[in-house]
Amino acid sequence: MARAKAVSREGLRQRVEELSGESVFACYQCGMCSAGCPYAEEMDRLPSQVIRDLQLDDPTLLDSNAMWVCASCLACEVRCPKGVDLAKLMEALRQIHLRATLDRVSLDRLSKDEIRELPQIALVASLRKKTG
């Protein structure tokens, strides 16, 4: 496992806005994103709560599992009435971790049988979203 550097918790909202190019204050908390997210049940914070936490600049958001459960399906992006791309916000949160050399998927724990079964795009995409 690569040695992860400490993930800074300072100025989370600003870093996320820079990485994503999105403005979190455009969100008025209508909840459409949470309603349409297929994985909301598995998240410890709803998508609309994630963006609320960004508005409040809550550093504990970095410990949430929401960004890792997110599958970039873009249901949120396509439905937001204010045009906020929540998928980009999730990507920014992932990148903050991954750029500190954190790998969320461990290649060591992938067995040869598992790799044999998977189409290449599954591995390519998974490693792209979850390794730095």
Partner: protein, 288 residues
């Protein structure tokens, strides 16, 4: 290049070979053969959503340069994920000259990408270039009575900027299977995420989602779910295995396999599942 410039993507050469084989046969029959792009490389799926991340677009741009070299102004893909990644990159660097210049400078051993390549999925080609009439005219084994749930997943229809059809209620694949005699069956989960790459390290997420999709298709009366992506296909097949008896009576195939069967592909080249559907159609035809 005489045919349509075709981008296979890594999975189409082994895991999803039958998706490709069927598509090549179909397009040959329709007089619009697919010609594989020379020296293509992995498209680098999925599209990187970080604003500053140019490196992860390089892979796609390289393929756009390859396309440019053939003189084609269009690239056709089978894999929905490749479609999404390539078209989003094409749009981004096509519009942003500064980024395009940076990427071209980085790829200093390649000709510069000038912009202007259009990326299309095969479904768009069938709808916009071949047309339903031609598809119907080429049908020799109409799939009468076969109820097909056309499953799109996310990457074909989202984001709207590159989507091949409406992001909530797409119809293009339904129209494709209808043109070859099958009965499209609408179901509410047709554009819901299959779980995609979560199958690698959080498989339960993908399997739960894919199971919901299968159950929805079953409830709508489908005999078969048609896919356009090797990963959707994989996840739905795995969900069917987990569901076991609950998924009895439903199969998952690539839409091109259905088309190949309808357009007269040698039965020996069809999978047992597709052969069974052909047999079912033959009975329906001969029936009342």
């Amino acid at each position: 290049m005489s045919g349509l410039a075709y981008f296979p993507g890594c999975s189409l050469k082994d895991d999803a070979k039958r998706y490709e084989d069927a598509a090549l046969f179909v397009m040959e029959r329709l007089g619009a053969p697919l010609e594989e792009l020379p020296k293509w490389t992995c498209c680098g799926t999925v599209y990187s959503l970080a604003d500053d991340d140019l490196m992860h677009h390089v892979a796609s741009v390289r393929n756009l340069v390859r396309t440019q070299e053939t003189g084609a102004d269009e690239l056709v893909t089978l894999c929905a994920m490749c479609f999404n990644t390539l078209s989003r990159v094409a749009e981004r660097v096509g519009a942003d000259e500064e980024e395009r210049t940076k990427i071209n400078a980085f790829m200093d051993r390649e000709p510069d990408y000038e912009g202007g390549i259009r990326v299309r999925h095969l479904l768009q080609v069938l709808r916009d270039t071949v047309g339903w009439e031609s598809l119907s005219a080429a049908t020799v084994r109409p799939l009468d009575g076969v109820n097909v749930a056309a499953y799109y997943g996310c990457t074909l229809v989202r984001p709207k900027e590159i989507g091949i059809d409406d992001s909530e209620r797409p119809i293009v694949m339904a129209d494709v299977v209808e043109a070859v005699g099958a009965t499209p069956v609408a179901f509410p989960f047709e554009a819901e995420c299959c779980g995609t790459y979560q199958i690698v390290d959080e498989p339960h997420l993908a399997l739960e989602q894919s199971s919901r999709i299968l159950r929805s298709a079953l409830r709508a009366g489908a005999d078969v779910v048609a896919t356009a992506c090797p990963l959707c296909q994989h996840n739905l097949e795995r969900a069917a295995e987990t569901l076991g008896a609950d998924a009895e009576g439903i199969h998952v195939v690539y839409f091109t396999e259905l088309l190949a069967a309808a357009l007269g592909a040698d039965e020996a080249r069809l999978t047992p599942v597709v052969r069974a559907l052909v047999a079912q159609a033959a009975t329906a035809e001969g029936g009342a």
